[in-house]
Symmetry: C2
């Protein structure tokens, strides 16, 4: 019987709606398996700026460090997107959280539920059986290097940086995972142009020597963007830098039918953070139509990775699978064949999942 | 009756085979329309390193500057890809050519020939009618900033940089093109994280004021990587930075069925360079199976953009279309329904195109 403290950090936009459902699922698991989960909430992003002027208030960070795991929503607001000169931005909260908690490895499992074969824009025969686990480096690269302006603001610059130990620690995590799967690892870089990529490739080649049982390939990021769509089944574990991982995993969401299905785990030195890969989606915020399945599946990752509760995690995934098998869909994963009465809103599809746990 | 001097720069791998066919097509056009095209050849990439130690010998550069247009193949060699520490690399020749010739705008039209609807891994009903024109900035960004090592080689860095005038000149080209098309422009950046992207967005917003008739949207690169596959028809003209353009256009090749179909034009201050977006493909080099249609379509772009010969350009595109309509395919665009006798090699499909000009 585990006793755990979970911090809910909804953030902005649909983050509020989807983490509310994720929390219900955690509650149901606790009740059913006899665990004690206690909860607290914290602010981040635009809502934190509005309340405190700071996208990641110290109090939020303190709560994160003290909790056993964080269920996170999303950050972002159109107001800042259209104002490139804004000094304080919601995303700074997210980036600071990643850095301060040492969340250097972002795991993004891309797996299509068979029932969603028709929700994707990719042909079913290309997709069927695709199962990729991305390791995106999360605390380095151009995201965290020095950036600024010169020449009276007429020139902007960003510095991308990687050190050996940063590449090595994520590479080892990716190789370890490959060992428990189909034993294939694809490292993605742009070593034909970029120096950080050359360091990346050097280090991955060296780490590979310790994993002779894992088959390694190196691909350029441009070729990978193409191959992911052309032949997704050729990939098992993919490891890549922060920026390339950001782009490739969003692209790969099409393999899973919709971004609304994709969960992620950010882990590293301390508390793990679990979040959908979708963003704050202000266009549908407050309408009750957001797909909460990515947040629910993030809760499943949380149970498995941070708490070691594998059976509980499987119970969540299986409940999602049954809901899809029963024909229920949110709007984003419905298609023209879906009967209108099977298209549910955020809360209603959450109920269906809860019933099946 | 035009009189023009064309430089053929085959480069590495299948570059040799495909530009040979591209040149035959130019010859046929000259004969048929009564133009005089003279030719020369120059070295670049791995073959140039082997011959002279330099990936872009001065002589090649001189020939490029003196010619009216360059038909280019590809550069790259696996030898360097697996040796991240190599100091001299084929790609340096390509990058130097782009910089020295001031080729700041890389146009990549993505359009599916109807006959290839089934060659793509994307569903035909999602694809049909997709028609995107990419403007990739080609002489700035992380490609050309300072890069190196520090901490005894343990840390690598790359500096991404953009100045206002660099963004403005490509933005204007993209807006001008949008005016001649469906009047929609999507500018792609990562302004929520990257400073060069914030400058990019600022400048595009400003240029947009001069084009009130063009509908503008700004998308993040991660979202765009997803949307390109989910709903390619929503895009008309897309303008983006060097690195993002590299990744997104390779991905978008799946919209056109295969990378083997995609041509590009690099233009700017002087001589224009025309090249397939595919690479040197050493795995199929010398086997006579490479798809030359991208090089042929690059020749069509050359005729149109550098020489202003629109009817001649259309004659080439129409010949390619007829060859596809007649059922001929190279291996990369064939599928399980293609009869074996319709699958042709590089030279044979080139012949079919020549016959139809
Ligand atoms: C919101 C943004 C800063 C973030 C990122 O780029 O990392 C998001 O796209 C993600 O993938 O988590
Ligand atoms: C070969 C490489 C340096 C090049 C690039 O990244 O620009 C290629 O991928 C391209 O798109 O032309």
């Amino acid at each position: 019987m585990a006793s755990k403290h979970i911090l809910i950090v909804p953030g902005d936009g649909i983050g509020q709606e989807v983490t509310a459902v994720g929390k219900q699922v955690l509650n149901k698991i606790a009740a059913k398996f006899g665990h004690t989960f206690t909860y607290d909430e914290a602010l981040i992003g635009h809502v934190a700026i509005e309340a405190t002027g700071n996208p990641l208030p110290d109090e939020s960070l303190k709560k994160m460090r003290k909790s056993d795991a964080v269920l996170f929503g999303a950050v972002g607001h159109p107001k800042y997107d259209n104002d490139p000169s804004a000094k304080v931005r919601p995303e700074q909260g997210l980036l600071k959280m990643r850095k301060e908690l040492g969340l250097y490895a972002n795991l993004r499992p891309i797996k299509l539920f068979d029932e969603l074969l028709d929700a994707s824009s990719i042909r079913p025969e290309i997709l069927k059986g695709a199962d990729i686990l991305f390791f995106r480096e999360l605390t380095g690269d151009i995201y965290f290097g020095e950036k600024g302006r010169k020449n009276d603001g007429d020139t902007a610059y960003d510095i991308a940086e990687y050190s050996r130990y940063e590449v090595e620690r994520i590479a080892r995590k990716a190789f370890d995972a490959a060992r428990t799967r189909r034993k294939k690892l694809c490292s993605v870089d742009k070593a034909n142009v970029i120096e950080t990529s050359r360091l990346w490739r050097e280090v991955v080649q060296k780490v590979a020597l310790d994993y002779p049982d894992v088959e390694v390939e190196h691909q350029f990021v441009d070729a990978t963007a193409m191959l992911l769509i052309k032949d997704p089944r050729r990939f098992d574990v993919v490891v890549t830098a922060n920026l390339f991982g950001d782009i490739l995993t969003d692209e790969a969401s099409q393999i899973a039918g919709s971004m609304g299905m994709l969960a992620s785990a950010s882990i590293g030195d301390g508390t793990g953070v679990y979040e959908p890969i979708h963003g704050s989606a202000h266009d549908i915020t407050g309408k009750g139509v957001a797909n909460p399945l990515a947040s629910i599946l993030s809760a499943a990752l949380l149970l498995d990775i941070s708490f070691g509760l594998k059976a509980e995690s499987d119970a969540v995934i299986s409940a999602v699978d049954q809901v899809l098998k029963a024909g229920f869909r949110t709007r984003d994963i419905a298609n023209s064949q879906t009967p209108a009465d099977k298209i549910l809103g955020t809360a209603a599809i959450g109920e269906e999942v809860l019933k099946r746990i």
